[in-house]
Symmetry: C2
Subunit: 246 residues, 2 copies
DNA sequence: CGTATCCTTGATTCGCTTCAACATTAGTGG
DNA sequence: CCACTAATGTTGAAGCGAATCAAGGATACG
């Protein structure tokens, strides 16, 4: 059974056309006349409580999801219980693309806080994409960018050391908060040290130590999940410099 | 200037309909009447010599490529020269998906041996995908599977130790050779120890030592690039077992 | 056939993990 | 609203796995 029942958007038929996230989301680049047709695509929303799954590995794939409020992590579990977090998703970002290839989801999507997603029927999306060129193109862009993002994570995991990885992670978070109209320098992380560590291929103690070290160096200030970036160029240099040292 | 000039398929207008790779490639699942229409999509081929790039980071994105013969590596370079190999591609597999998102390629595709690729104009692909449902769906599947594959690499890099990574790599290569009608147990690697290492987030010496250790254990036999898998279950157990030890 | 590239193996170093103890925060029920 | 407890985060000390440094050997290519 699903964690939450789908709720229909009765008074909210104008899902995309009135959504302030649209420029970060799937409808981006689609002209005004076409965008109204997207509203039928996003017929339902779902609310997911903190720590609850939007979908799980093995679930039948039927839809992709656009995050309206809140945030998620995606992870893959090995049989022995090891977890690899493959990404963190914020508002406007798309979840569920992993299921298209096999018709079954290959990872878990877990809410990091109480969240709402727009449910986008994949069948309907394919239909509409055949008619609306902009939608087709934008959808392909979203998938391609996910591939490029994944390559960036491989770069992190394969070629960078602990503090470089964390610096890159913080700069990435900052950039994404900025794109959503929040402060580039001050934000609250929604994930634990362990989840950050899993994403970056590190143990939680190493993440904690790196945070403390950055603070000693005056690069950031940390209080639990609250982060202030005091010297973003310093973080950037750390990635470059430690690199050339190697 | 390109490394090789594109060559038109004069006598080979039936690019996809007569290709024996089609079940591994983009046209898979498309019915016979539609598949003839794909032939116009694949109007040209390109030959790429060993060590030469099919495309480079920064090149304008115009087409995706299906490998007809040979093999490639994809890599990302950091400014300081560090290389991260993001994947190895074999016949039937698709290259260039990274370019759709930004219109510019974000990685290099380098031939590991003299190779031939089918050039698939992206504009034409989008057009045809709007008409041929099967093509649209298959293209989405290809992209989705690339995302899932990337998640698998993240799992390798983030949560596994050196010998587990190499075991997983060998089993993956074996499986892909098998799918192409070659022996599951005996094959020649096309890449160097350094390239394997880069892909797996290890140094070449570590890769070499792991190969030697597998040989001592009777799991494989290695002679330079020639690999015989003697005990594939042993390799599989190594991934499971070392996992639970952690 | 000669030379550059690739591979193997050993000794040492170093960065991250592991183990452990404690501090802090968040969540729960009285 | 406060007390209590579980979850999360910090810090220190020791151990280990992979990187680094170094030298020699095999192979492929022009």
């Amino acid at each position: 059974m699903k964690a939450t029942a789908p709720i229909t958007l009765t008074g909210l038929k104008k899902a995309c056309s009135q959504c302030n996230l649209f420029e970060l989301c799937l409808p981006f680049g689609i002209n005004d006349s076409d965008i109204l047709r997207l509203d039928e695509l996003v017929a339902t929303q779902r609310r997911i409580k903190r720590q609850q799954p939007l979908y799980r590995t093995g679930d039948t794939f039927e839809a992709i999801y656009a995050i309206r409020t809140g945030s998620f992590k995606s992870d893959v579990l090995l049989e022995d219980g090891r977890e690899q977090v493959t990404g963190f998703q914020m508002t406007g970002e798309i979840l569920g693309l992993d299921g298209i290839g096999t018709g079954v989801h290959t990872c878990n999507a877990i809410a990091l806080e109480d969240s709402e997603v727009c449910v986008i029927s994949y069948t309907k999306l394919e239909e509409l994409a055949r008619v609306i060129e902009g939608l087709q193109h934008q959808f392909h862009k979203v998938m391609s960018r996910e591939i490029v993002r994944d390559h960036g994570v491989m770069m992190l995991l394969g070629s960078m050391r602990a503090e470089e990885r964390l610096a890159a992670f913080l700069l990435n978070m900052s950039q994404r908060f900025t794109a959503r109209g929040f402060s580039p320098t001050e934000f609250n992380l929604r994930m634990t040290r362990e989840e950050i560590g899993s994403y970056l291929g590190l143990k939680l103690e190493t993440v904690s130590r790196a945070f403390s070290h950055f603070q000693e160096e005056g690069l950031i200030s940390v209080q639990q999940k609250h982060i202030c970036i005091l010297n973003s160029n310093g973080l950037r240099k750390l990635i470059q410099h430690q690199a050339s040292v190697r």
